[in-house]
């Protein structure tokens, strides 16, 4: 959980570091990583077609779930319809932990934890995008921590009772018994994924106005409280 949150902090930092014009990362190393970790399912480059996963040409700026002729998971299609677009930030979050950004994604890939590896991979993906020069260059590792997500906050014990009260607001839309009829289920989630997903809405990495608003007004303590409550539901 700590790793995931720290990197969300980093992602935020990308947008706020002014004028750092370094390379995103080492594209050559990225090509090797792609061949090892992605190529089994994805093609990229001249003549790339959909395989197990969609082709990844012109990825930056592309709406999620929009490669022609590919059948996506419900979750990815929903995020795309909500407006999720592949940028440095969203892509970094997806590759790091696919399910934290798109919970029901069918991409069966456990995630790439090392930020430098991800930076290299993105530099490679960017070479196969439209107008790679226009895609902002900034070192994702330029900032190490985000003050809002300090270890003390991350280690915070959630107040379960408070979480139970706060969760009553969620039940108007998310059914308590976990059924999913147009709004995804949020019961039986591991606490880490839950916290990451809520912060992803709060920081507007995940699109969706309702959830951005719901998460936006919850402070770290309240998100921890909700996580503590949902973690004890069976």
């Amino acid at each position: 959980m700590r790793i995931a949150l720290t990197s969300l902090g980093l992602l935020l930092a990308i947008g706020t570091v002014p004028g750092v014009a370094e390379e995103i990362g080492d594209a050559e190393r990225g090509a090797t990583l792609f061949a090892r970790q992605c190529a089994a399912c994805h093609q990229i480059g001249d003549g790339a077609v959909n395989r197990v996963g969609p082709q990844l040409n012109r990825l930056f700026g592309r709406r999620a779930g929009n490669a022609e002729g590919f059948t996506y998971s419900k979750s990815m299609a929903r995020m795309g319809a909500d407006g999720l677009t592949w940028t440095l930030q969203t892509l970094d979050a997806y590759i790091e932990n696919p399910k934290a950004l798109v919970s029901g994604t069918r991409m069966n890939y456990r995630g790439m934890k090392d930020p430098e590896d991800r930076a290299a991979l993105m530099a490679f993906l960017r070479d196969w995008s439209d107008k790679p020069r226009d895609i902002p260059e900034a070192e994702p590792t330029a900032r190490k921590t985000n003050p809002d997500l300090s270890p003390e906050i991350l280690a915070m014990e959630g107040d379960r009772d408070y979480g139970e009260y706060l969760s009553s607001e969620c039940r108007t839309c998310h059914q308590a018994d976990g059924s999913d009829q147009g709004i995804p289920s949020i019961t039986n989630w591991p606490a880490e994924d839950f916290v990451v997903a809520m912060h992803a809405y709060k920081q507007k990495l995940r699109p969706h106005p309702v959830m951005q608003m719901m998460a936006g007004r919850l402070n770290d303590e309240e998100i921890a409280a909700l996580a503590a409550y949902f973690a004890t539901l069976d």
Binding site: G80, G83, M213
Partner: protein, 421 residues
């Protein structure tokens, strides 16, 4: 089956059973009576009973044995839902520790802390929750009264037989006929409701009776999601809908049920179906209880939904005057959870937390073309105030509109499960 249910269901037995309740159950158990088993009342009753785990005796008084949701009743008019899908019984609630009495509350004695029912039964309470929805203001539309004319010109603004009647009338319109709506003045329940209804009527007529016309007489300059509705009407129902705002006399109306005529700014139009949505006020029992103001609504404390007139009474949902929240099922459900927490805190000493409220209203404009508006709210000393809000944008693509519609189906399933268990 729970012992208390066997005692309380039915009418004849109720009075004696309840009056003897203290000796049966012991003096210590605190009593909450909830009047109105709708979005606010059912939720409050359920949450107090569920979370107090038997420490509070909760009695729900509801006039109808089955609740028909107003939400999605427009989708029924449009042919997207069947009537049964709008109906919800109270069995699960009763099984969950709430005593459900199907009767009309006719009086509240706040000094004696009792509620009197039509059957004559008298229910004592420690805390009273009123969530009786709305009633119509007499004389708000000249020529129309609910008692005399609702069968000819239905309001369909309390869902049930009125909704079925309106649907039958729409479907029986002659070819090329005229549908009229008299839209209500502010404030009223469900701000986008009349306009979602117009969309659904237009959808039905476009399929069955494409030369028919729709006129809307509206006393309001502006209404909820107006830009979105206007865009949708132009796109799906071009030339069908004539919206007459106050600048063109939409606020100067009279109806003539006997001759099926509508008079707008002096001009008489013969109509085939007329939906009159009159001006509104708090459900009558709120006024009978003496907790309403001169405008006809019940002022409440923004932090708890407690009545400003009586510290033992709460007013939820449409009947309350609380500030910025629209009168919606979502709002009533949200307010009920704050109230349930506050009431439990007072009666059992359970922990209380700062109130948070929210609302989202979805509307369907055409098949798979859904839009939404919503906001979050927090109490200030003066009122419940809007903190942050969002609304669908014009020009959104079809995939997003479809996702929005599907989300509304999820919400309907969610809120009805949250109300009735």
């Amino acid at each position: 089956m729970k012992l208390n249910r066997r005692h309380f269901i039915g009418t004849g037995l109720v009075a004696s059973a309840i009056l003897t309740a203290p000796t049966v159950w012991g003096q210590a158990k605190a009593k909450v009576v909830v009047i109105g088993g709708g979005a606010g009342g059912a939720t409050a009753a359920r949450y107090i009973a569920k979370d107090s785990e038997g420490a509070v005796e909760v009695t729900l008084v509801e006039a109808n044995p089955v609740y028909t949701t107003c939400f999605f009743s427009n989708l029924y008019l449009g042919g997207f839902r069947d009537f049964e899908s709008l109906q919800h019984g109270y069995e699960t609630l009763a099984g969950g520790g709430v005593t459900v009495i199907n009767d009309m509350a006719t009086a509240v004695d706040r000094a004696a802390k009792t509620v009197t029912l039509a059957s004559g039964a008298v229910l004592p309470y420690d805390r009273l929750v009123l969530s009786p929805g709305i009633d119509f203001k007499d004389g708000s539309v000249p020529g129309w009264s609910a008692d005399a004319h609702a069968e000819i010109m239905p309001h369909a603004y309390k869902a049930g037989p009125q909704t079925q009647l309106l649907k039958a009338q729409i479907e029986a319109m002659p070819e090329g006929g005229v549908f009229a709506m008299i839209a209500p003045p502010n404030p009223y329940r469900c701000p986008p409701g009349p306009y979602e209804r117009i969309s659904m009527v237009a959808h039905v007529l476009k399929e069955r009776n494409p030369t028919a016309k729709i006129i809307v007489a509206d006393p309001k300059e502006n209404f909820s999601k107006k830009a979105l509705f206007e865009e949708g009407w132009a796109k799906h129902y071009a030339g069908m809908i004539d919206w007459i705002g106050p600048d063109f006399g939409g606020g100067n109306v009279e109806v003539r049920p006997d001759t099926m005529e509508v008079v707008i700014d002096g001009e008489v139009t013969k109509v085939d179906c007329c939906n009159v949505i009159p001006g509104q006020m708090a459900g009558k029992i709120a006024a009978l209880a003496g907790v309403t103001d001169e405008a006809g609504w019940a002022p409440v404390d923004p932090a708890s939904m407690k009545s400003k007139m009586d510290e033992n009474v709460w007013v939820l949902g449409d009947s309350s005057a609380q500030g910025d929240m629209p009168k919606s099922g979502f709002s009533a459900n949200s307010q009920a959870k704050v109230a349930a927490m506050a009431i439990r805190g007072e009666l059992t000493g359970s922990r209380t937390f700062p109130a948070k409220y929210s609302n989202t209203c979805w509307s369907l404009i055409a098949p798979e073309d859904g839009v939404k508006v919503g906001a979050s709210y927090e109490p200030t000393p003066e009122k419940i105030a809007s903190v942050e809000s969002f609304v669908s944008a014009t020009g959104e693509d079809a995939a997003l509109r479809k996702a929005t519609y599907e989300e509304s189906l999820g919400w309907y399933a969610g809120i009805t499960a949250d109300m009735f268990g």
